[in-house]
């Protein structure tokens, strides 16, 4: 059937070109946290990059929230920084209302609520929260960008997650290791062992992943009344504790390769 | 005040039978002798060849006050200053409004607002508070001064909302005496520095030692000497002016 009318429908190519603004970026780096019986270690590298460019060699990804909670954020740096700022304001309101710091498990739930509230325009951020529970045990909570979360013993996230997590599975959870008869795997590792694992994780990730390197920042949270386990002897250790509630926070910084 | 108690003076929205709005008149009383915040003070403004000088007699109601910390002259924009006599809190509210007006002008036209424009807007704003029973009039007389494209200008806005331009202006308790003194000056011939000295002298003159507590002289200026910025008069000039004012006062007596 012949066309009855000539249609003046513009061809698709003559439409204005549309360049969609992409509100996200990905800034590399890796974070990880491991909990012990009465401590928690939360660490991240300090490189921030975009594509093949290193933006800066020092951009913190791990933040002290309270004397018993430390939050590591990884992914889109602008979202991460804003998210931490917002969490901190919520914690401040909690302090005003209750005259004490929010407990760790409450912070974990708060974070899930805040992430899920942005379900349809998510913070492109992977969070790992580490600290001490009210019962004095070390804890790690890990989150996906829209708020799904669980408590774990250890978790790695970010650019080198696929390099680090299997290593932790093997060293912390003793996956693929068969215990000697009569010598079961330990439930918890001692602090100095954990710290060494963290350092090894990051030096290895630095070797094999271009987005990881420059510096390592490692927070150590000790439970109320716990011994120092030799933390005080680590070179360059710095105490970050603010209140006298009992938990103590230390930070250790290490250089990583800059190439 | 024959109509006190007749009920015609309880609202800004009521005329008395002889056509007066008493609430506005009472607001004028607040300017002179507000009992609640001890602001029974005088403020003056001088418009000279290349600038404006504002000066207030700041009564010190307690010796626990920190000197110079509690400023009475306010800055509205880079080129605009404001001094009030009357209820201090009303003065602050008006200054905030003036800042908004000035910022809006800048946003629209990308140039600093003319002094007259701000005086006009504030006059209209104050007038609105003389129309309704749901608000009270502003209990302040306002001097607004600044330097714009046409040079220095100075305005006084009354609680009724009316405003006039002046070469020399005085509001508050001692305004009569201050006006007399201002009239003696050849304002358009004075330099800014000279005007600072005269302003200080007048404030010292109108201050009533016998009735009032101690006071602090606060002065600001805007014009050629300040790069067009409204800023406090520098400390050394201020103390020089104070010295000379005290000396002049002794001669006077």
């Amino acid at each position: 059937m012949p066309d009855m009318v000539t249609l003046s429908y513009p061809s698709p190519s003559s439409k204005p070109q549309q360049r969609q603004f992409n509100p996200y970026s990905e800034n590399g780096g890796t974070i990880l946290a491991i909990s012990g019986a009465d401590f928690s270690v939360i660490a991240g590298d300090t490189r921030q990059s975009e594509g093949y460019s290193i933006q800066t060699r020092y951009a913190p990804k791990v933040f002290r929230l309270t004397d018993n909670a430390v939050l590591a954020v990884n992914g889109f740096a602008a979202d991460g920084n804003m998210f931490v700022k917002q969490v901190r304001q919520r914690l401040e309101w909690y302090r005003h209302a209750h005259a004490k710091d929010m407990p760790l498990r409450a912070i974990a739930r708060l974070i899930q609520t805040m992430l899920y509230a942005r379900r349809f325009f998510p913070y492109y951020v992977y969070n790992i929260l580490g600290g001490i529970e009210e019962d004095g045990s070390g804890a790690v909570y890990s989150f996906d960008p829209v708020g799904s979360y669980e408590r774990e013993s250890c978790r790695a996230a970010g650019a080198a997650q696929s390099l680090v997590q299997p290593f932790l599975d093997n060293q912390i959870y003793f996956k693929n290791q068969v215990a000697l008869p009569g010598h079961p795997h330990p439930q918890h590792l001692p602090l100095l062992t954990v710290i060494q694992l963290v350092i090894d994780s990051f030096t290895s990730a630095t070797e094999r992943h271009i987005e990881v390197g420059d510096g390592l920042e490692m927070f150590i949270v000790l439970a109320k009344g716990s011994p120092l386990y030799g933390v005080e002897n680590i070179a360059g250790v710095q105490e970050m504790t603010v209140t006298n509630e009992g938990e103590r926070i230390f930070v250790v910084r290490r250089n990583l390769k800059r190439d | 005040m024959t109509s006190i108690g007749t009920g015609y003076d309880l609202s800004a929205s009521t005329y008395s039978p002889d056509g007066r709005i008493f609430q506005v008149e009472y607001a004028n009383k607040a300017v002179e002798n507000s009992g609640q915040d001890l602001s029974r003070s005088t403020a003056i403004g001088l418009r000279v060849k290349d600038g404006i000088i504002l000066a207030v007699e700041k009564l010190v109601h307690s010796k626990l006050l920190i000197p110079e910390a509690n400023r009475r002259i306010q800055t509205l924009d880079r080129h605009l200053g404001l001094a009030t006599a009357g209820l201090l809190a009303d003065g602050r509210q008006l200054a905030n409004k003036a800042r908004d007006e000035s910022a809006n002008f800048r946003d629209s036209f990308r140039s600093p607002a003319p002094v007259k424009y701000i005086a006009d807007r504030l006059g209209s704003y104050i007038q609105v508070y003389t129309l309704y029973s749901s608000v009270r009039p502003f209990g302040i007389s306002t001097i607004i001064g600044g330097v714009d494209q046409d040079g220095p200008s100075l305005f006084v806005i009354e609680p009724s909302g009316v405003f006039f331009g002046y070469h020399g202006a005085a509001v508050g308790k001692g305004r009569q005496l201050a006006k007399t003194e201002l009239e003696k000056l050849k304002l358009s011939d004075l330099s800014m520095r000279q005007a600072v000295l005269e302003a200080a002298r007048i404030i010292y003159l109108v201050h009533d030692d016998s009735k009032e507590k101690t006071f602090e002289l606060e002065m600001s200026w805007v014009g050629n000497d300040t790069n067009g910025l409204h800023v406090p008069v520098p400390k050394d000039l201020l103390s020089e002016a104070e010295q000379k004012a005290k000396a002049a006062l002794e001669d006077f007596e």
Binding site: - | K29, L64, L87, Y129
Partner: protein
């Protein structure tokens, strides 16, 4: 019913140009128990007297933390204070959000003063019935401000508000010149002495009825390294109470009777 024709409404000037409702609001401040504030070169402190409605009741809250660097003591209506202090907290936080800096104390005080002024000019509101002493530390050092329901605020070396605060003021006026160089312990001692002046003859300060608020480096009596605003209550203030010179009952300066009823001349 009313004392005069012009005092039932905050939108009405009296023929003398007075605002009676505002003046009555200032009276509400005087109904509250006293608070004292002092400032040295290194510290600002608050001291307040807490009341209790009876043996079984707890003591009232007289101090609020606003931010790490700011705290307030109140006299008057506690519920009004909660509204205003919440507003101050919001201001403090938005300063942190927008500029990543602690809000300058003077601007914080001006903000609530401007807020209070509106309640003296518009119908259907009442002026706030509470006065604040605000202490804080910022780039320009330690500060002490008084905020009052009239919408005025002033910065002082030392100040007191609330019931019988005139007696404390008299003490402060006598000693304020020495405050600048005081140690924290001496400053608190002065504060306690001033606060004691507001008590009735048979009463004394104790760990239950006294609150101390501090910004600045900790005292030797505190077990903290914290320099931000903190409120000391209960047993922790005993060491400070111990520093006080016991009052030799007859020799103490006779406090002028608390004014409850006369027309207010603020700071007279």
């Amino acid at each position: 019913m009313f004392r005069n024709t012009y005092d039932s409404d905050n939108t009405v000037f009296s023929p003398q140009g007075r605002l009676h409702q505002v003046e009555y609001a200032l009276e509400a401040v005087k109904q509250g128990s006293a608070a004292v504030g002092l400032r040295s070169k290194t510290h600002s402190i608050l001291l307040a007297l807490k009341r209790s409605t009876g043996e079984l009741a707890s003591y009232q809250q007289k101090m609020f933390r606003i931010d790490d660097h700011v705290g307030i003591a109140i006299a008057g209506l506690t519920s009004d204070a909660r509204v205003l202090s919440n507003f101050m907290r919001q201001q403090a936080m938005s300063s942190k959000m927008a500029f990543n800096r602690p809000v300058p104390v003077n601007r914080l005080v001006s903000a609530i003063a401007d807020k209070a002024q509106v309640n003296t000019q518009e119908y259907g509101r009442r002026p706030y019935g509470v006065g604040f002493l605000v202490i804080g530390q910022d780039q320009s050092g330690p500060h002490l401000y008084e905020f009052s329901p009239s919408g005025n605020s002033y910065e002082y070396y030392a100040m007191s508000i609330g019931a019988r605060s005139q007696s404390a003021k008299t003490y402060l006026e006598k000693h304020y010149e020495s405050f600048a160089d005081c140690s924290l312990e001496d400053l608190i001692k002065h504060g306690l002495h001033a606060l004691r002046e507001t008590l009735q003859q048979d009463k004394d300060l104790n760990v239950n009825n006294t609150s101390i608020g501090i910004v600045g480096a900790p005292s030797v009596h505190e077990k903290t390294t914290n320099v931000s605003f903190r409120i000391l209550e209960g047993e922790t203030i005993q060491p400070f109470l111990d520093t006080m010179v016991p009052k030799d009952a007859p020799a103490a300066a006779p406090a002028p009777p608390a004014s409850t009823d006369e027309d207010v001349q603020m700071a007279e």
